[in-house]
């Protein structure tokens, strides 16, 4: 019900605001909007962003397009820096992974200050993670894994240090109290989940929806879900495991603009972005990723980013 009211209000605002914003340089927006996607073309994050871009166009004047631009370099760092340094004229926006944003800055000392971004909107509940082992692994459940961890370190397949999966695995291991060793350098989620399937490592921490899909494909066996919601197939969730804090471990996608964007343009863009909340292809995609719609306008988005930052800073990563 809440969602419908928000959508209606957002549509109303977008409709009445139209393209009449005027800051002395003609009506805004009058040209295409550059949408920076700091991941490679293809894959879940890219499709998520492109669908938001498509939805956004519904609220823009016909002559204005949203042009998605993948800036993958440096684990996404280059795209984030480009967005941070872009002029705050309302023609550059980008989709950022939170808390990936903090992790990248911490590990690579990149020249941006995440607290200065202009937060515009976020859309879904965020991805929860899960813990899986290879289909043929002798580890049958989480108790088996804990038993092994009393004798030796547990090995996990993951990305390089700049990837969110690396940090997520570190934090999950620390919450669960598992001694761990990371086998890093895998390029993406399918790559490191397959590594666990092959037996390169004992286990893998990855997005729950990815693990579920690969479990259906017979590649892995899900042994823990980090959500606080009931999980299917008798897999223990964060509450069953006795570690409710695992539910705070999630990846959110947030659309932001460069620091210093004027309030009227921020509102205009946020309202245009709110089209995604009712855009059918986006809803279908979010559902397939196991996420539900959780609309957030600029202030709520900023609060969520701050909450994520505080959570990440508590851990030794």
């Amino acid at each position: 019900m809440k969602f419908e009211r928000r959508t209606f209000l957002a549509g109303l605002i977008a409709g009445t605001a139209g393209c009449s914003l005027n800051s002395g340089e003609g009506p805004y927006p009058s040209r295409d909007i550059d949408f920076i996607i700091p991941t490679g073309a293809g894959g879940g994050a890219d499709m998520y962003a492109r669908l938001i871009g498509n939805a956004m166009e519904l609220a823009l004047p016909e002559s204005v397009n949203v042009i998605p631009r993948n800036v993958e370099s440096g684990g996404g760092g280059k795209g984030i820096v480009q967005l941070h340094n872009a002029p705050p004229d309302g023609y550059s926006i980008g989709i950022l992974n939170v808390p990936g944003l903090f992790v990248l800055q911490k590990r690579r000392k990149l020249p941006y200050n995440f607290s200065q971004f202009t937060w515009l909107a976020s859309f879904t509940t965020g991805e929860h993670y899960g813990l899986a082992v290879g289909r043929d692994s002798p580890i049958r459940n989480f108790d088996d894994l804990r038993e092994i961890s009393r004798r030796r370190e547990i090995t996990f397949a993951t990305t390089g240090p700049e990837g969110m999966a690396y940090t997520t695995t570190q934090i999950a291991s620390q919450i669960l109290g598992l001694p761990y060793r990371l086998v890093s350098g895998y390029r993406g989620s399918s790559d490191y989940v397959v590594a666990a399937m092959r037996g390169d490592t004992d286990a893998v921490v990855a997005a729950h929806s990815t693990l579920e899909r690969m479990e259906e494909g017979g590649a892995v066996r899900l042994i823990a879900a980090f959500s606080d919601k009931p999980s299917s197939g008798g897999v223990p969730n964060a509450l069953d495991l006795g570690f409710p804090e695992l539910a705070n471990l999630r990846g959110d996608r947030v659309v932001a603009a460069p620091p210093g964007l004027a309030d009227d343009k921020r509102e205009y863009l946020a309202n245009a972005l709110s089209q995604a909340w009712a855009y059918k292809p986006f809803l279908a995609w979010a559902e397939s990723m196991g996420e539900s719609i959780a609309p957030r306008m600029p202030d709520e988005t900023a609060a969520m980013v701050e909450q994520q930052r505080k959570f990440i800073e508590r851990w030794d990563v």
Partner: protein
């Protein structure tokens, strides 16, 4: 089973399905010809178009693009030494010398038939190899991928033309050095980036390739004058039929290439360049006339093109069967599947059989139709090889630079292309082969990453290479590749000694 095959085929026969398949093929050939832009970009751009389509129409469009791109890439590789796609770099090796000799028709004919047949094998392997795919994915972990990269690097040296082995090794070493540029996601450190953001991910291979081949070739031609085809080459474009039939005559090469391509498609992490290069190298090794390769041997084209198209078909296997996209192209394709309510994995195999069979048919049709279109284009496009370079070079260089920029709308790609254009020209002038440089850039990254991961998995115990059947097999293959050329040399020397002795006795 037969009914499902028929249903899958019939589902493609609606006018809309045929329309979108044809549109996909046209787009595929077009982006294949353009350097830099590939099937991945085309599918991303057309994904919003698929929203309004039925699942079969969307699959027909995607299959049209995927099946047709390699043929487009082969045409420019042969005629202008400009690989439309990265994997087509190997096609240049024998395709371009044939074009220079005025045998562009023969080369394009061979590319068309090997493309179509390789594509057929690749498409049908989706069904035939599916039960084995799981084992292949399981068999190839970091130790095996490291040894496969080592095998490739070894073949760089052993398959180089006589008298150029030393230069091939030098070019390969330079390639390995270039491969080390960028941010290492194993160690979290930057190497040789000199604070330049563009180099964080290393040298952009597609942009470098455009410089190394297209730009360098045009500069070289401009310096030399004339046209691509030598002045003494026959003016009429003939031999297309011979080229077409060559794939049937050299069926062993075709089959070998298709099998290597099929294997490379199933194993995540082995790309198209590696597939085409391995197929080419093994064909050279198996040939009784290895010295003719690189000078215009049609078998070089057959081996390469069959591997590329077979790989394009079989790489659907891990995507469809397990939901594991091995490449960016497959990640986009998987997105299209999910958008249309198909969840990759065994559920898709159970619930969407008709769509899968339609996909196989669409891919097959795309490969065959693209090959026919390639043949039709052969004559008019082969005339490009007769155009005076003063007219041709500015056009090709302009297209190359635009193509380089459009890979990811990055202005630095143009600088990259120009720098590698200069490197390529210097290599041509000094008679250094360029392919070893490309292969080493690709394999250097694979080798380094997988060696580090192997050491992390085994906790720095090298015996891991002897504990696994896959790595043991590859070690054996490595050993054979080192020994066979030696044995051949000894055998030849022994035969010459016997001959000399016999002549001495006769005198």
């Amino acid at each position: 089973m037969l009914a499902e095959w028929t249903d899958g085929f019939l589902a493609l026969l609606g006018y809309r399905e045929i329309l979108f398949l044809s549109f996909g093929i046209a787009v595929g050939i077009f982006v294949g010809i353009l350097p830099g832009i590939g099937a991945t970009t085309a599918m991303i751009l057309l994904t919003p178009v698929t929203f309004a389509l039925s699942p079969v129409e969307a699959l027909a469009l995607a299959a049209g693009i995927m099946g047709a791109t390699p043929m487009g890439g082969a045409v420019t590789a042969i005629l202008l030494n400009t690989p439309g796609q990265t994997a087509n770099a190997v096609t240049c090796l024998d395709g371009y010398p044939l074009a220079q000799q005025g045998k562009a028709g023969l080369a394009i004919g061979a590319a068309a038939s090997s493309n179509a047949l390789g594509g057929l094998i690749g498409a049908f392997s989706i069904l035939a190899v599916m039960p084995l795919a799981n084992n292949m994915v399981m068999l190839f972990g970091p130790p095996e991928l490291f040894l496969l990269a080592m095998l490739g690097l070894l073949l760089v040296a052993t398959t180089s033309r006589k008298g150029r082995m030393f230069r091939a090794i030098i070019a390969g070493l330079v390639g390995l050095a270039i491969a080390s540029i960028g941010y290492s996601d194993l160690t979290g450190t930057e190497r040789y980036t000199f604070g330049i953001e563009y180099l964080w991910d290393g040298v952009h291979l597609a942009a470098a390739l455009i410089g190394l081949f297209a730009v360098a070739e045009m500069v070289q031609l401009t310096v030399k004058g004339g046209s691509v085809a030598n002045a003494d080459a026959p003016a009429a474009i003939t031999g297309t039929l011979d080229g077409l039939l060559a794939s049937f005559r050299k069926w062993k090469t075709l089959l070998r290439g298709s099998l290597i391509g099929t294997f490379a498609g199933v194993v995540p992490g082995v790309g198209g360049v590696v597939a085409s290069f391995l197929s080419y190298s093994f064909t050279v090794q198996a040939s009784k006339e290895p010295e003719t390769f690189g000078k215009g041997n049609v078998e070089g084209i057959i081996a390469t093109e069959a591997a590329i198209t077979a790989k394009d078909g079989s790489m659907l296997i891990p995507t469809v069967a397990f939901g594991i996209p091995g490449t960016a192209e497959m990640a986009v394709f998987m997105g299209i599947l999910i958008l249309h309510g198909m969840q990759p994995g065994p559920l898709m195999l159970a619930n969407n059989r008709e769509e899968i069979y339609s996909l196989v048919w669409a891919l097959t049709a795309s490969c065959i139709i693209a090959s026919v279109v390639g043949l039709l284009l052969a004559n008019p496009m082969a005339k490009l090889t007769r155009v005076d370079v003063q007219i041709l070079a500015p056009i090709i260089i302009a297209i190359s630079l635009v193509g380089s920029y459009s890979i990811d709308q990055e202005i630095n790609n143009i600088i990259n292309t120009i720098v590698f254009g200069i490197i390529g020209y210097v290599m041509i002038a000094l008679n250094y082969p360029r392919l070893p440089l490309v292969i080493a850039i690709v394999l250097g990254k694979i080798a380094e990453r997988n060696f580090h991961q192997t050491m992390m998995i085994s906790d720095r115990d090298l015996s891991i290479f002897l504990d696994r059947s896959g790595s043991l097999t590859l070690l054996g293959l490595l050993l054979l590749c080192i020994l066979i050329p030696r044995l051949k040399t000894w055998k030849r020397a022994a035969a010459e000694r016997v001959k000399a002795k016999a002549q001495g006795a006769g005198a």
